[in-house]
């Protein structure tokens, strides 16, 4: 079975940007572009993600500058299950969390789910990726799909 990163590359669900001066709203929008391109989500899907972050704060920005923008299962404008992966050279400012801690991200894993089983499988793999710091570091400097695959080959996640 292919890994989520192999899947991201096979489906061209990736984007590499500089990110200089981008607001988090613009960054979230751009992170959905690869998902829009193959009809996984509608072009307005990003608005639901922005509304959620505006409502609850940047709780979906995790340690190690990883953001996992998402909405709900079977959300409006979602047609396939997938992950829109985006690397920003510059850190994107998401403001502060409820403890006043600064939240920034340069790795985006934007989720869309139309199938709970596939989605759960994606999440389980992402949970391992999010705790694999050498892999995250390598992904953060990737600029091509080949480098995504090379990073995973070099720092594979442990099977659980």
């Amino acid at each position: 079975m292919s890994t989520v990163l192999q899947d991201i590359v096979a489906k061209k669900h990736y984007k590499f940007i500089d990110g200089e001066g981008l607001t988090w709203q613009e960054a979230v929008k751009q992170s959905t572009e690869s998902l829009i391109a193959d009809g996984s989500v509608s072009k307005d899907f990003y608005k639901q993600i922005i509304a959620c972050i505006e409502k609850y704060g940047p709780y979906m920005v995790f340690e190690h500058n990883v953001a996992m923008p998402h909405t709900t299962e079977n959300a409006e404008g979602v047609y396939k299950t997938g992950i829109g992966f985006m690397v920003c050279k510059k850190l994107i400012d998401f403001g502060v969390d409820e403890d006043g801690e600064k939240k920034e991200a340069n790795l985006f894993f934007t989720l869309c789910s139309a199938n709970p089983t596939e989605h759960m499988n994606n999440i389980q793999q992402l949970a391992n990726i999010f705790q694999n710091e050498p892999l995250l570091d390598a992904l953060a400097v990737a600029t091509t799909p080949e480098e995504i695959l090379a990073a995973e080959e070099k720092y594979p996640c442990e099977e659980e």
Partner: protein, 102 residues
């Protein structure tokens, strides 16, 4: 027998589709590591969480959602709030602090 054997745990996030699944995943790791066999580990959106809470022994959520659960019967349901929802270490420590894991 472990205290959480046969108990029901619920993970909540804004939509019940992202962070709550990460949490569920991390909770499963903690249960396996401590040889605990809960009756159920589920996830849902915070909008459903408060009404679902009485059916669970433990509810876990990220800190920003703690307010949603104000007024639940804490003698029946333990609320655990987390800074990092995918950290199995934080979940384990929080459950220990709550006296739910020996």
């Amino acid at each position: 027998m472990a205290k959480l054997d046969g108990k029901k745990l619920l993970a909540c996030c804004a939509n019940g589709a992202g962070s709550s699944l990460l949490m569920e995943n991390a909770i499963k790791k903690v249960m396996t590591r401590n040889n605990i066999k809960p009756a159920a580990i589920s996830h849902c959106a915070v909008s459903e969480g408060k009404s679902a809470a009485p059916n669970y022994d433990v509810v876990l959520c990220a800190k920003p959602f703690a307010k949603t659960f104000e007024g639940i019967d804490t003698s029946k349901t333990t609320l655990i709030t987390l800074k990092n929802v995918m950290s199995d270490k934080e979940i384990e420590t929080a459950l220990k602090d709550a006296g739910l894991i020996d």
